[in-house]
């Protein structure tokens, strides 16, 4: 699907010792068309990184033996510039700074939404390549980002500012499930997890759906229960 924008299949090295998480992430990434190599320890990860060529390394920080930061420093020390996405259960500012200092390109705190992981992986794989302008339209829903207007089947939709921003965000990520956390951060600019915006987001989605998907028209805004929301033509 989305990897078709890149001519070759993306190769990802996943270094994660928690086998359930590793298998789930591997399956998820493979379902998106990536080729995933799995390593369960830091040393195994380093050997794999030495022998194969990867477009991206997804690295857990808490590993048996050599931990993630050591692996990262070793790779960067060897002059390897492969983008690295760090996964960690610790998210104090100090931990973040340590990870980014060691040369991580991005940082994701556990427990993460898979949708969020996918978004970060996409962003890192795309890095350096010009992003194709997203088609701001789904089926007969059209977005005019400059004029901040939206129409469905030629009829102008009457949206509040926030509703428009939310719809535009969903359409820009069409086909991808976005979590409430992503929406809170990117649409509401809320930096902190733990601020009760989930209900606010749900109400906005409900209202948006009433306007975008009126009775009798094909549904475009879908709720993926327990995960988030997605805009697409067909049922997910």
């Amino acid at each position: 699907m989305w990897v078709t924008t890149v001519s070759v299949v993306s190769r990802i090295l996943l270094i994660e010792d928690e086998s359930k998480v590793a298998r789930a992430v591997q399956e998820g990434l493979e379902a998106e068309g990536c080729e995933v190599t799995l390593a369960a320890t830091g040393d195994e990860g380093l050997r794999a990184a030495d022998t194969g060529h990867f477009d991206l390394i997804v690295l857990d920080l808490m590993l048996p033996g050599r931990d993630g930061l050591e692996v990262l420093s070793a790779r960067r020390g060897a002059g390897d510039a492969t983008p690295v996405l760090v996964l960690t259960a610790r998210d104090t500012v100090r931990d973040r700074v340590a990870g980014l200092d060691a040369g991580a390109d991005d940082y994701l705190v556990k427990p993460f939404a898979f949708a969020e992981l996918l978004a970060r992986v996409r962003a890192l794989l795309r890095r350096g390549r010009p992003e194709p302008p997203p088609r701001l339209a789904v089926a007969d829903l059209e977005i005019d980002a400059v004029g901040r207007r939206a129409s469905r089947g030629g009829h102008q939709l009457s949206l509040t500012g926030r509703e428009f921003t939310l719809l535009e965000y969903l359409v820009r990520h069409q086909g991808q499930v976005v979590s409430r956390e992503q929406i809170a951060r990117d649409v509401w600019r809320e930096p902190s997890r733990g601020t009760p915006l989930d209900n606010v987001i749900d109400v906005h989605i409900m209202r948006l759906r009433r306007k975008v998907d009126p009775e009798g028209s094909a549904r475009l805004i879908h709720t993926v229960r327990g995960v988030g929301f997605v805009v697409r033509e067909n049922e997910p």
Binding site: V93, P111, T195, N199, V200, V224, R225
Partner: protein
């Protein structure tokens, strides 16, 4: 000698030393005074001796020798009796009269060097001191120098005995002072021993024990009182922590139970794909709830450690109120509630905006949740002297007085049976309180059952 470790011994030692010093100074002063007195008496004796000697010399002496002087001639060399000596010298250095001469006295030819005309002491031999008085007189028509003298032996002997008595009594006084000081210190410090043995028994498991207070007004009583107050606070903190741990476990257990039941029931029989999707979704919803609880707990524990990253700066409190009201307006609209922002003048607080915003969102969210449909919720912003104040006022059901002191405690729920909505695990108000207090402000609540509640954020205002 090892330095005494106990306060008692040190007190006694210093007490004794201080007393020894005072007594020594006193003894020295007395000794000097006694010496002065003795010499004064000796000197007045010499004056008398001189007067008598001059009289003899003028009344036809040297024929008649005074009786005392005659006795003196018979005594042994170091002076067995306290009698004076007299001799008289012509200005050319001849002795013209002599009665009971003391061996070792120099020849008096002319006035002696540094002639004082008052009595003076002279050492005539090793350990033999004499007191002398030399003055001019006339023997018949001839001018002479008359010398009278007496041994200092008796005066010095008396002085020596007195000094011995004083010297011997000093160590005794020191010993008595040390002993008395020790007993006194032990009595005075007895409450400390009692506190020590009681304090040993106080542990995390026995925090209800308190130090004994014998006299609440003295220093030890005050110390024990202060320590007991600290123990009160510690006991309360421990109780809160214990309840918090229990509540946190309960709060985590609820979603875990849901996950487990949905999963187990789902596997009991074959189902269609749609049903499975529904179940997985339901499980994911519960994990969202778990994540929210854990995120909030982490936020609070990091706040407890003082690791929160705050950047206080001047911020408009009325802007914040408007923004928060706009953010949560949709929630109020769903319940046909009306959120009104009341600002009389621009108010600027000095605080870290994101954390204050979080506090305000939590308070307003709480008010919307607990107010009935159609209620009016007011956000009032004003300046009160050096403080910037934001009030969230609702006319909801209010909070009963017995719950009021606890509403900011973690996981405290007024309605125990009410199931929490996802993302609100009874931590919202705790986070609000932390957020405000971390910004050197305070959070207050006033409430009246069935009349409504006022939650108040008070922050330092910018000048």
């Amino acid at each position: 000698m090892s330095w005494p470790r106990s306060v008692r011994a040190r007190l006694a030692f210093w007490h004794g030393l201080a007393l020894l010093f005072v007594v020594s100074v006193y003894a020295a002063a007395v000794l000097l005074q006694v010496q002065d007195d003795l010499y004064e008496a000796l000197d007045s004796q010499l004056e008398g001796d001189f007067g008598r000697a001059v009289e003899w010399l003028q009344n036809g002496a040297p024929a008649g020798v005074p009786a005392a002087a005659a006795d003196a001639s018979t005594r042994d060399s170091d002076g067995g009796a306290d009698v004076p000596w007299v001799d008289a010298w012509s200005p050319d250095g001849r002795r013209v009269f002599d009665a009971g001469r003391q061996p070792g006295l120099p020849v008096l030819s002319g006035p002696p060097a540094g002639w004082p005309r008052t009595p003076y002491s002279l050492i005539v031999a090793e350990g033999t001191r004499v007191r002398l008085l030399v003055r001019e007189a006339r023997s018949g028509r001839q001018p002479v120098y008359v010398r009278v003298g007496r041994s200092e032996r008796f005066a010095r002997q008396e002085l020596g005995e007195f000094a011995t008595v004083l010297g011997l009594s000093l160590p005794f006084a020191f010993a008595v002072a040390v002993a008395a000081g020790y007993l006194l210190a032990r009595r005075a410090l007895a409450p400390v021993s009692a506190m020590t043995s009681r304090a040993r028994r106080i542990t995390a498991e026995h925090l209800d024990e308190r130090l004994p207070v014998e006299n609440p007004t003295d220093e030890f009583g005050q110390l024990a009182g202060v320590v007991n107050d600290a123990l009160d606070r510690l006991e309360r903190a421990f109780a809160t922590l214990r309840r918090f741990t229990a509540d946190a476990s309960h709060e985590l257990r609820t979603p875990l139970t849901a996950i487990r039941s949905v999963g187990e029931v789902g596997l009991r029989e074959r189902r269609g794909e749609a049903e499975y999707r529904e179940m997985v979704g339901s499980i994911l919803e519960e994990t969202e709830r778990l994540t929210a609880v854990v995120d909030s707990l982490l936020l609070l524990s990091r706040a407890d450690e003082g690791k929160a990253d705050l950047r206080p700066a001047p911020m408009s409190l009325d802007d914040l109120a408007n923004e928060v009201a706009a953010d949560l307006a949709v929630l109020a609209e769903e319940k046909r509630q009306n959120v009104r922002v009341e600002v009389s003048a621009a108010v600027t607080a000095v605080a870290d905006r994101p954390t204050v915003r979080q506090a305000a969102i939590n308070l307003l969210d709480n008010a919307i949740k607990h107010s009935p449909d159609g209620a009016v919720i007011r956000l009032v912003v004003r300046q009160e002297g050096p403080s910037a104040v934001l009030e969230v006022i609702d006319n909801g059901p209010g909070i009963a007085p017995e719950h009021l002191p606890h509403v900011f405690e973690r996981f405290y729920r007024v309605d125990k049976a009410r199931s929490p909505a996802a993302g609100s695990a009874g931590l919202g108000l705790s986070i609000a309180r932390w957020a405000v207090e971390a910004n050197e402000g305070r959070i207050e609540v006033e409430s009246e059952t069935s009349r409504g509640s006022v939650f108040r954020i008070v922050l330092p205002a910018a000048n």
